[in-house]
């Protein structure tokens, strides 16, 4: 999209970031300061769901802002004006925060990989402890399907994410896989488990999968 067709603020960012040194450096400093502010706010927003704490959390934010800044400048020509420039830019820093919190998880992990804490599954699924007896049969069947019908890779990923509650980004970092690859494994495992539960009379035929 030509710069003149963008909204005023986006157009100004592109013009300033593409200008000669003085104006460009001022724009880069301004953008970096905004990325740092957003990253700090984001790590604080996520602080309850990560074992990363204190100064390490601030370090994650600053590293995320630095890496996002480099990525934004390297990909500036790829901005196509489909959103406001600042939304496009902030996306980089938010995704950097996600990825870095996933990697930092393993510095002090509350749960080891392959722990297999099956007793915690009801809680992970939001099942009321007082009503676990009601769900005991179906949960036993879930475990049977996981152990007998999933592939070893599906089983390892399912147990890590669903049974042990390891964050998806942390598992992706540990296994050297992309988030999407882990999500796809869980997606397929959920479908496989559901089909088995339907076939064995534990659940009704799912409406969405009939299509």
């Amino acid at each position: 999209m030509p710069v003149e067709d963008l909204d005023e603020e986006s157009s100004a960012w592109l013009r300033r970031l593409g200008a000669r040194s003085g104006e460009r450096h001022a724009a880069e400093r301004e953008l970096h300061a905004r990325l740092v502010r957003i990253a700090l706010a984001e790590v604080r927003r996520r602080s309850a769901s990560t074992p990363v704490t204190g100064p390490e959390l601030d370090d994650v934010a600053h590293q995320a802002a630095d890496d996002a800044m480099l990525a934004i400048l390297a990909k500036l020509d790829g901005f196509r004006g489909e959103s406001r420039f600042i939304t496009w830019a902030y996306r980089f820093v938010i995704l950097e925060v996600s990825g870095k919190l996933g990697r930092h998880y393993w510095r002090n992990p509350p749960v080891a990989l392959d722990a297999g804490q099956w007793e915690r599954l009801p809680g992970r699924l939001g099942i009321d402890p007082a009503r676990q007896a009601e769900a005991a049969g179906i949960l036993a069947e879930v475990r049977r399907v996981v152990e007998e019908e999933l592939t070893s890779h599906q089983r390892r990923v399912f147990v890590a994410i669903v049974v042990d509650g390891i964050p998806l980004d942390a598992l992706a970092a540990q296994l050297g896989l992309r988030r999407n690859a882990i999500y796809k494994v869980i997606f397929d495992a959920r479908r496989k488990i559901r089909r088995a539960l339907v076939a064995n009379g534990y659940l009704d035929e799912p409406a969405l999968e009939r299509r």
Binding site: S83, T87, Y90, R178, N180, R191, R211
Partner: protein, 71 residues
């Protein structure tokens, strides 16, 4: 919701779900649509389905939405 219902909801998959890569590729566009009051879910039903099912991508969506609205 019954205990069986909770499990059923967890196991439910939506064939429209585009996955993380496609959802994150347009997250900035989706967020701007939401901020502008547009029909983001109508324009990107596969992204909407994904955000309902994927906790990490929904966290990124929430974070980006909060970032642009806090400016």
């Amino acid at each position: 919701m019954s205990e069986q219902g909770r499990l059923e909801r967890f196991l439910r998959t939506d064939p429209r779900d585009v996955g993380c890569d496609e959802a994150l590729a347009v997250l900035h566009i989706y967020v701007d649509l939401v901020v502008a009051g547009g029909d983001a879910a109508g324009r990107y039903p596969g992204v909407a389905a994904h955000l309902l099912a994927c906790g990490p991508c929904d966290e990124d969506f929430t974070g980006l939405l909060q970032a642009v609205t806090s400016d």
